[in-house]
């Protein structure tokens, strides 16, 4: 776990993530400028840092309704504005990037942040980036696997010798600067289907599992399959952390939280994915057995602990800014996380002094 900078004794890590979406507030139909959105994300990371959260990450999406295509640049600003919080991408589309450039960027962010940077590499759910950068969609999987493998190699080896299909060979190449402690934690972003997690196990990488909705028990199947595949491929599952990511919002009551979030999520998904979030599924999300952490602080605490018991995961990251959520609501949530949710989670999941 140490190579991924996870200290099990500290209990479940809690963080925030954003896709960097840039959507109108469905209540007003107004959209803030891209400049304001980016500045607010930096500000959000700052508040999360001050509130003692463990982690903050920013994703890249190269299509309409997004603002953080240059996510590494945004993360550099966040590195400068924060002090203790871990910072990462969620995710970096490694398939269509040059792993050398990605590594240079993130090890630089690691130096700026004094050793707080991580990479989560993904393969893109929307694929506009393939057209934009001139890649062939039929190479979707091979591009991802080859570039991811190279990224891990650069992280492991100071002098790299490599050749592959989608990039010029590297001959005694030294990829610099090196991160503060020699290497970066590099994770794989995976969707809900077990196959995606199993392939992360083949690659010997820790996973970030996206959990938009549905029973926690279904995601447990994916996590179990991942750990089993790690073992079969000669890795020790105890050395590989698991993180989960999903919708989050805290308010006084469940219904208040649902009212505050549903229009943002539904309208936002219509625009970014082409299909809204069915209200029936969203309503079921309030159930303790569902992974969606939307409700009162007490309900959320119970759900996260329930999920932790089931998944045995090391980090949970919350998405609460999707779909044009106003900034003051995000601030209120940080406050609730800092004063109510985080202390309870740490109390129940961290190793006790007398253990």
């Amino acid at each position: 776990m140490e190579q991924f900078r996870i200290d099990k004794d500290k209990g479940l890590e809690f963080g925030l993530y954003t896709l960097g979406d840039h959507l109108p507030d469905p209540h007003t139909g107004e959209r803030i400028s891209a400049q304001q959105r980016i500045n607010e994300l930096v500000e959000l990371a700052k508040l999360a840092d001050q509130a003692g959260l463990d982690f903050f990450s920013v994703g890249e999406s190269h299509q309409e309704y997004f603002a953080t295509q240059a996510h590494a640049v945004v993360l550099a600003a966040i590195a400068q504005a924060t002090e203790n919080i871990k910072i990462a991408s969620s995710s970096t589309i490694i398939s269509t990037s040059d792993p050398v450039r990605v590594y240079e960027n993130f090890s630089t962010i690691d130096l700026i942040s004094d050793g707080r940077a991580e990479i989560i590499a993904g393969r893109a759910s929307r694929t506009g980036i393939f057209d934009l950068l001139g890649y062939d969609l039929s190479d979707y999987e091979e591009l991802f696997e080859e570039k991811f493998e190279l990224l891990l190699k650069i992280n492991r080896e100071k002098i790299v010798n490599w050749s592959g299909k989608y990039r010029a060979p590297l001959r005694n190449a030294e990829v610099i600067p090196r991160p503060k402690n020699g290497s970066l934690p590099i994770w794989r972003a995976v969707g809900g289907h077990p196959a995606s997690a199993i392939k992360a196990a083949y690659a010997g990488a820790p996973i970030f599992l996206a959990t938009l909705g549905g029973p926690a028990s279904s995601f447990k199947n994916t996590i179990d399959a991942y750990r089993e595949a790690l073992g079969q491929n000669g890795y020790d599952p105890n050395e590989f952390p698991v993180a989960t990511a999903g919708f989050f919002f805290a308010a006084k009551t469940t219904q208040e939280a649902q009212r505050a979030t549903y229009p943002h999520i539904n309208e936002g998904m219509k625009r970014t994915n082409g299909r809204g979030f069915p209200k029936q599924h969203f309503a079921q999300g309030a159930d303790k057995r569902d992974v969606m952490n939307i409700g009162s602080p007490q309900e959320i605490i119970e759900k996260i602990l329930y999920q932790h018991e089931m998944f045995g995961h090391q980090r949970y990251i919350a998405q609460m800014d999707f779909g044009g959520m106003p900034f003051d609501k995000l601030k209120e949530n940080i406050e609730l996380i800092a004063t109510e949710i985080l202390p309870a989670i740490r109390k129940y999941t961290a190793k006790k002094e007398d253990d």
Binding site: T127, G128, L137, S138, G274, R275, Q280, A283
Partner: protein, 188 residues
């Protein structure tokens, strides 16, 4: 309410002839409804390569987006080799999982042989159900002999198509009301 008439073939005239009648009649009897024709013969649509439908461009994006924005869709299709044409199946392949959730889907077939009567029941309906459509139970079946020089010549066909339009609108309006009531009950 938005209704799309989807004519599913690039070949022949029977399906389009029946669809022309449906579009005209549906608009005439329901002036408050927004009726749009999509005849796949008018578009150049690429094969599905698995991407999100919003990531296509040109005709492919226009057609899939129009379908996704509809409340009800009447599909007309010829029968080729004892099934629906590949052009129509490709439209389904381009759309996301559960694309027809909360949509009402109706269908009719034009065919050269009466032996094809159950093709819609056994082949198209399961696809629509899988995609979560509210399927209008009764469909219309029209044969070669019901057409002459690109005109419908059997009065019963007009009656069948009128009933198909009425059933579609009845189910679409009723479903929307029920859905609104159900969604209001969630309180968010």
């Amino acid at each position: 309410m938005k209704i799309v008439g989807l004519s599913g073939s690039k070949v022949g005239s029977k399906t389009r002839t029946a669809m022309n009648y449906i579009i005209e009649r549906a608009q005439e009897t329901n002036p408050e409804v927004d009726v749009t024709l999509i005849d796949l013969a008018d578009y150049d649509i690429q094969f599905s390569d698995g991407r999100n439908y919003l990531d296509y461009t040109g005709d492919t994006k226009h057609v899939t987006k129009t379908i996704m924005e509809a409340d009800a869709i009447i599909i007309g299709t010829p029968i080729f080799q004892a099934s629906i044409p590949g052009t129509l199946k490709n439209i389904f392949d381009l759309l996301p999982v559960s694309a027809f959730e909360h949509k009402v889907l109706a269908m009719y077939a034009t065919a050269g042989s009466e032996k094809h009567y159950l093709i819609l029941e056994q082949q198209l309906k399961p696809i629509l159900s899988y995609m979560k459509a509210q399927v209008v139970p009764a469909y219309a079946f029209i044969e070669e002999k019901d057409f002459l020089k690109k005109e419908i010549v059997n009065d019963d066909v007009f009656f069948r198509l009128d009933r198909l339009i009425e059933d579609t609108l009845l189910l679409a309006k009723t479903y929307q009301k029920m859905l609104e009531e159900k969604e209001a009950s969630y309180g968010f």
